[in-house]
Amino acid sequence: MSSQPNPVDTTTESPERPLLDVRGLRTYFHVMDGTVKAVDGVDFSIPRGGTVGLVGESGCGKSVTAHSIMRLIDIPPGEIVSGEVLLEGVDLLKLPDDKIRHVRGGEIAMIFQEPMTSLNPVFTIGDQISEAILLHTVPKISHKEAMERAIESLQLVGVSAPERRVKQYPHELSGGMRQRAMIAMALSCNPKLLIADEPTNALDVTIQAQILELIKALQARTGTALLLITHDLAVVAETVETIAVMYAGRIVETGTVDQVLLNPQHPYTQGLMSSIPGVKKRGEALSVIKGVVPNPFRMPPGCAFQPRCPYAWERCREAEPELLHAASGAYSRCFLHAPEGASRLPAFEHVVSGTVSSVVGSK
């Protein structure tokens, strides 16, 4: 895929090793009122060329996870307390600053959620794309060649008249065009992993579909792995293979898209799925997850979801389980799937199967 030498990969490649392996990542923010444990022990991995969706509501730590992988967290107030982010076996969290710069953009590229503000207003589109190309192309190429490559990459993402677009400023482009330009910039250096942080948030629905199609098509063509961060379950359902659901800084359920979305095994995922409006539910009141996300300074004891969980019992207030293998094949951080919850599981399964039919109907 990429012909350029990898400056950080010092180990030999093994086929079974994942491209990116995040282990026990904890990112805290030390602010005036105390410490916010934005990411509190997240583990997941992305295989070479694989696609993973990180799902959760606002403030659950999905963006912080992505920023921690790229080491874009502002320190202070942020602090990556512990964990490892292994890209092909190299821990990015321990890399010196000049080495991590080669990783950013070169190995891992990122698309941000607001295309309106993620391009610098005083530079032309071409300047910004060619800057990324100039930084990561070895051996060095001239500005003119970089600009030609910028035009090619704009063509690749379906921008019309790219040789004129490169001379334009961001304010002259529509939101969809800007997001295409961001994607062109991200993919211009053939990264091994593309992190898309809510890439379709600020776009209208028709453009959303186009951008997702584009990301999917480019991902399939270039073999880049994809980490898609979103709160939109419809977006992940269409785009990725594997899903990880986050709640209050932890992954609560992970599995393939079908396992997690069709047969959710964690009460939180189940709540999310049943709160999606659908055609079949016309006339009914929408189901909601009762309560609110816990105050980050005062996390409840045991499982973070326990105060809102309709299935919670004493055990849930005592401790929080590991990710447990559920019957569906997915992993769920819930005592329902532990031996002590076995007696309560049938009641949960019953609700789940009820939910599934409505979700399948809406899908």
Partner: protein
């Protein structure tokens, strides 16, 4: 102004391309378009640039050497009634602005050469201050933490010093009088204000998503500060630097007038010409003080009009 929108010539093959036919103007072209419409600012810039041009070309247009002391005269040239001791009035033959009292130096030569130094100190120390202030403020705002703390405490200390007293002390200690020294002192004392401004701009700009995006493609900190953030902060820096030229010219003239600035025996400046002129005003020689004073007023007024126009033109939110 009835200008048609500027359009790029269309290729013969792409007649239907109405989408991207407009010319893309960069921030400077847009600013110039707005500045051009600001008549007072154009007038001010013209005034300022005229003063700069006259001062720069001074030795070429002045008939006399600034240090040339003419032989003593009893009567003004072309007049048998005007006694020369108090200086000859404007429009005297050979002396369009008249001559000074006492030594009877040509006032035009004096004002033009004085302007060289006054403007050089004003512009030079403002640019120095802009460079130091931008680097210090930029680093403090971008990196934050202990760099910010140290730089800003230095700024606080420097801002608490009364500039006139510091210069007086400098003059006493080092026996100033050299205009280069004065320029350095002014630069050293006027960057902290700008550093604060730049810091606050950087504090806002570094949280912009495009800065994160630049970091995410592997751009180095230095490049982010100077290539990505600075161009977004440059408008207020330019406006503030322009206006500080006026401030420094006035303060410098005042310091000269007090006798702690540039040595009038070595180098004339607008300020120290005024010092020498003051004792002759009561003798009826008004022009000796009037013309350097007028030069200061016109220059400062021109700069302030220009700065006002620049502020409007460089504001990215104003779309005329």
């Amino acid at each position: 102004m009835n200008q048609l929108p500027v359009t790029e010539p269309l290729d013969p093959g792409t007649q239907a391309d109405f989408e991207v036919a407009l010319v893309s103007l960069n921030q400077w072209q847009l600013a110039w378009r707005r500045f051009r419409r600001h008549k007072l600012a154009l007038f001010g810039s013209g005034l300022f640039l005229t003063m700069v041009a006259i001062s720069a070309l001074g030795p070429l247009i002045c008939p006399y050497d600034p240090t040339y002391v003419p032989p003593p005269l009893h009567f003004c040239p072309g007049s048998l009634t005007q006694i020369a001791y108090n200086g000859c009035p404007p429009l005297t033959q050979g002396h369009p602005l008249g001559t000074t009292g006492s030594l009877q130096l040509d006032l035009l030569t004096l004002v033009v050469n004085g302007g060289r130094i006054s403007l050089l100190i004003g512009i030079g120390s403002s640019i120095f201050a802009a460079i130091i202030g931008t680097i210090v403020g930029g680093m403090a705002g971008y990196f934050g933490g202990w760099i910010d703390t140290i730089f800003m405490r230095v700024v606080d200390v420097l801002l608490s010093l009364p500039i006139l007293i510091v210069i007086t002390v400098f003059a006493k200690a080092f026996g100033l009088g050299d205009w280069r020294m004065i320029m350095v002192v002014f630069a050293a004392l006027s960057w902290p204000g700008l550093a604060r401004l730049v810091r606050s701009l950087f504090l806002t700009l570094r949280t912009e998503v495009f800065v994160d995006a630049a970091r995410a493609v592997g751009v180095s900190d230095r490049r982010i500060i100077f290539r990505h953030i600075l161009p977004n902060a440059v408008s207020p820096i330019i406006v503030s630097t322009t206006l500080s030229i006026a401030g420094i010219i006035v303060t410098e003239a005042f310091v000269d007038y007090l006798g702690y600035g540039v040595d009038p025996n070595k180098t004339p400046t607008w300020g120290n010409i005024l010092t020498s002129a003051q004792t002759y005003i009561i003798n009826g020689n008004w022009w000796w003080a009037f013309f350097p004073g007028l030069a200061i007023v016109l220059t400062v007024l021109g700069i302030n009009f220009m700065g006002d126009g620049l502020r409007d033109a460089l504001d990215p939110r104003s779309r005329l």
